[in-house]
Symmetry: C2
């Protein structure tokens, strides 16, 4: 194994590719696709998005201090990419992509009805870093699509929504499930039971 | 499509699952697996990790203000999970997992030789948020495994390393490639050419 040194760069992958919705009224509604996003605290639940000051959504974020993170799927892949390269200065993105804005519970920014999960956020701090400003935010509510919730167990199966991720310039679906958190220390008997259950489920 | 409201939570997925290395000397070397990580600025290249104060690596981060983000693969999945549930207080994680610490170029924290990409970081700010402290950092150097660099084109193919991600409690490999950034606005001719090239490549 030989390693080469690159110049410093942004090489954390795979990342989410989320559609962030902004705007306090239908005239303002816009969608921006973002991979510079993530969770920064479990409790209180907090996250961030980093946005370039040149983007149309930037001013709306500065003004309204609210946004919704909408998770994306294979079915939404085209819209996800398109909303990342086109600007809300020229386009009504909801209409162009045939997406449906719906009311959030806690913020004025709309949710994307077609997304499996909508994360409603209020900005707590804005940190200018260079090319991007980081918007730190608190999660105020999460909406989830009922069709992915098991009616018996109440378990939400995000994988059934076919989520996508972004890795080094490419979008991918998820592949094989390797194991759940903690699988490396699970007792063998428990693991065997789980695997048998999974096999039965897949059949 | 019906939506249910959940309580606020951490639902941004899929996420990376990286092995973060810390410690200024071999006695200190430790590995902690983290999904609360991401890029926060393109230029200067900056990223973050969020860590609970109870973790063994937390004090080493506070003292040394340096770490390395090591990307993970299917081959490293067991070690990735194990280093996330076991503590450096009880375990020498490099030895237990058969991983090789090697010198970084710009920081004293070690790289994991077996990882395809190592991102060397220096902490610029520490922000207490609640359960987690956020460590913002500047990327000082990136090391990449030569075996994933095309000797003719110089292009680094991270997908050849079989990267993994973490989504709602489960680890996954990447699945099908959907398209590259900008595919939704690519001219048809260019896209057809690329697709033909991909087909030839796959054959």
């Amino acid at each position: 194994m030989a390693k080469v040194d690159w110049k410093p760069g942004t090489m954390i992958y795979p990342l989410p590719a989320v559609m962030v919705t902004v705007g306090a009224s239908p005239e303002e509604y816009n969608i921006i696709t973002i991979s510079w996003t993530g969770t920064i605290c479990s409790d209180p639940p907090m996250c961030y998005i980093s946005v370039r000051p040149g983007r149309h959504s930037f001013n709306l974020l500065m003004k309204n201090k609210e946004f919704v993170i909408n998770l994306t799927t294979k079915e939404l892949a085209f819209a996800t990419d398109w909303c990342g390269v086109r600007s809300g200065k020229q386009h009504k993105k909801f209409e162009s992509m045939g997406l449906t804005p719906a009311p959030a519970l806690m913020v004025n920014a709309p949710i994307i009805e077609e997304a499996p999960v909508n994360i409603e956020c209020r900005v707590t701090e804005i940190i200018p870093l260079g090319t991007h400003h980081m918007f730190m935010a608190e999660v105020l509510n999460v909406k989830a699509d009922e069709q992915y919730i098991d009616s018996k167990t109440g378990v939400f199966a995000l994988d059934k929504a076919n989520p996508i991720c972004y890795s080094h310039g490419q979008y991918y679906t998820l592949g094989k499930r390797i194991g759940k958190f903690g699988f490396s220390v699970e007792k063998k008997k428990t693991r065997r039971k789980r695997e048998a259950r999974m096999r039965n489920k897949d059949e």
